[in-house]
Symmetry: C2
Subunit: 370 residues, 2 copies
């Protein structure tokens, strides 16, 4: 999708891909297949690149520092990106700059979890302080590397991998929001409207732009918070700040992502400038495009893999039923539960847009056949 | 741009390209470099293609018939495409189905032109019947292969190539319009709003969607005419019908193009479904997307090559001045006068959209520097 956004500007991509079958490798013409964890591979790849950016945050921080030392522009750079790579680093930094987060602490074993829960019980003035959320500080996504434990007895599992673990309070939230911003090396920054992100089984299911019924003051605060984080952390490119809206009217930072993000996929059809176009512009230090929405409501629903490997035949029904539907498939092999695409709908009627997106996503997945 | 539109649907292209530097060859990953005039090349290329379509109409008709005989789906097929390849065939067919065209006749030499002019003088009840427009029936575009002659003495040139020549009256038009439609093998068809196309030196300069102040009845007649032509000629995919709006309130067909067309480039940012997306959908016999505009006004201005080979540096000014501007560059070498890209603007205020498109196109070309 970043390649798609680069085509109109004549931006040529060289792609480092795990396999020739990766989504991006199917559409980019200059593909190097190699391991992003190998510094020699990265160095050879970087030869002749004007600038390097990412569609995931798993390239080792130290390798990115080595590339920077070689003189390769890396955007976002490792100093910023480490906050999206390591939840411990992220939480410590957000604390330091005064950004509200769930109560948290790095824990070493189940005994530490017991102490953390006891502190929670004391703060709440009752209960046992459970459930507690445990997250490996690196490598988790879409619910992987995250456990919600209800007792010390349940707290053993997360420590088995030998990776540092972050304990967090289970926030009593009304809903999840996301504030998407883009920042360029010049320091120019734009904020997309704050969206509501609905999760199912820990995976983003639907995003509504803008978040319905959101207090305008809270929306402004979320945008300013995201812009502030981007500036303080020196983010270049797209930054997604996943937020909890609490029952008592606060917003707390859940996660950070420094790349075009699922919560911004609606912008492809719903904003004047998509997150992908603005990410490319930021990475190249070009002036940023207008982030405002083009429709009153835009809805994005993820298409998950279902039982049928062939989604193409579902196009017939979906396109015939809804000529305004925007389908974005990623060319991935269909595996049950895997994100293989998304659909966007937009219009003046939110219920209608939600229904159309829901129907199309379910039909493409094969959950419904009519 | 067709590749761009195919990516979200997971449509993979194999491209037959004259050179590895062609615009499309820069972004499509599966490229065969070869001569589209060579049947063996075409046959080898067609192996493994589900369907073949075009971004120009120069593949010889007889080769397309050979591919069809081999069982390769060619869309649009040669029976339709010949009307966009040969202006003589086109005029004869439009006459036969009752579509209004400028007065015309195939001419063999300047004496024929004299007779044609005399008939015009008689019809007009005076004058000498000149100027007369002479066009080679094949191979012309953007003013090439077209002559406006003011006397028999001037009429020698067009015959020198030994190609059949079509004589046409020089229509006293108010402006040029274009009706863009898309038709699928199922017979489903959609019509984009009729646009105004402004030419400079025989080359399309600016397109305004929808055509300002166009009589709704005339607009409807133009759409119906284009849909009728698509059906009668068996067009599959995009059909652009270039029209003259005459001083006395008629519409006459100027040219046909059976592929996404310059007069439809505005749809990339201005319509719910772009002409490229709908062309792909039609060629694959998928249900067509909604062709309605997303903005009150959309303006497309072509970017022509100027004196500066580097257009990238102009992005800084253009993007900073107008964060809503949509730039589409084709990756072509810059040669003076060559179409190397286009810009789209949209909004509620036509004058504003026109000024922004004009400024950006001129700045990218280097005609203005501020």
């Amino acid at each position: 999708m970043t390649h798609e956004a680069g085509i109109p500007l004549g931006i040529r991509f060289r792609l480092l891909s795990d396999t020739p079958q990766d989504s991006a490798a199917q559409v980019v013409s200059d593909v190097v297949v190699g391991d992003y964890r190998d510094l020699d591979t990265l160095r050879a790849f970087a030869q002749g690149c004007d600038v390097i950016t990412f569609d995931h945050e798993h390239v080792p921080t130290e390798h990115l520092r080595a590339l920077e030392a070689d003189g390769v522009p890396v955007r976002p750079g490792p100093d910023a990106l480490q906050h999206a790579q390591d939840k411990g680093v992220m939480r410590a930094r957000l604390d330091a700059i005064g950004v509200p987060c769930p109560r948290h602490r790095i824990v070493s074993d189940p005994d530490d979890v017991a102490v953390f829960a006891a502190e929670g019980a004391a703060a709440q003035g009752g209960g046992d302080g459970f459930p507690v959320v445990l997250k490996t500080v690196r490598g988790g996504y879409d619910g992987k590397g995250v456990w919600v434990v209800r007792s010390v007895a349940e707290a053993a599992e997360p420590f088995r991998a030998g990776v540092p673990v972050l304990a967090e309070e289970k926030v009593d939230f009304v809903r999840e929001l996301a504030a998407n911003v883009v920042r360029s090396p010049h320091g120019q920054a734009v904020a997309y409207p704050v969206v509501e992100s609905r999760q199912v089984d820990g995976v983003c299911d639907t995003v509504i732009a803008p978040a319905p019924g959101l207090d305008p003051e809270l929306a402004l605060r979320a945008e300013e918070m995201a812009l502030g984080i981007a500036k303080e952390l020196g983010v270049i490119g797209h930054l997604a700040v996943e937020l909890f809206e609490t029952r008592d009217g606060r917003i707390l930072v859940n996660e950070l992502a420094m790349r075009p993000h699922n919560s911004g996929h609606w912008t492809m059809d719903g904003a004047i400038t998509s997150q992908f176009a603005n990410h490319v512009r930021a990475v190249l230090d070009l002036p940023l495009g207008d982030p405002r929405p083009r429709a009153k409501w835009t809805v994005m629903s993820n298409v998950l893999g279902g039982d049928y490997p062939d989604m193409y035949s579902a196009y017939l029904h979906c396109m015939a039923r809804d000529p305004q539907l925007k389908i974005h498939m990623y060319g991935k092999d269909v595996k049950p539960g895997r994100k293989v695409g998304h659909v966007n709908t937009y219009g003046d009627d939110l219920d209608d847009a939600l229904e159309r997106a829901r129907h199309a996503a379910d039909y493409l997945r094969g959950t419904i056949t009519e």
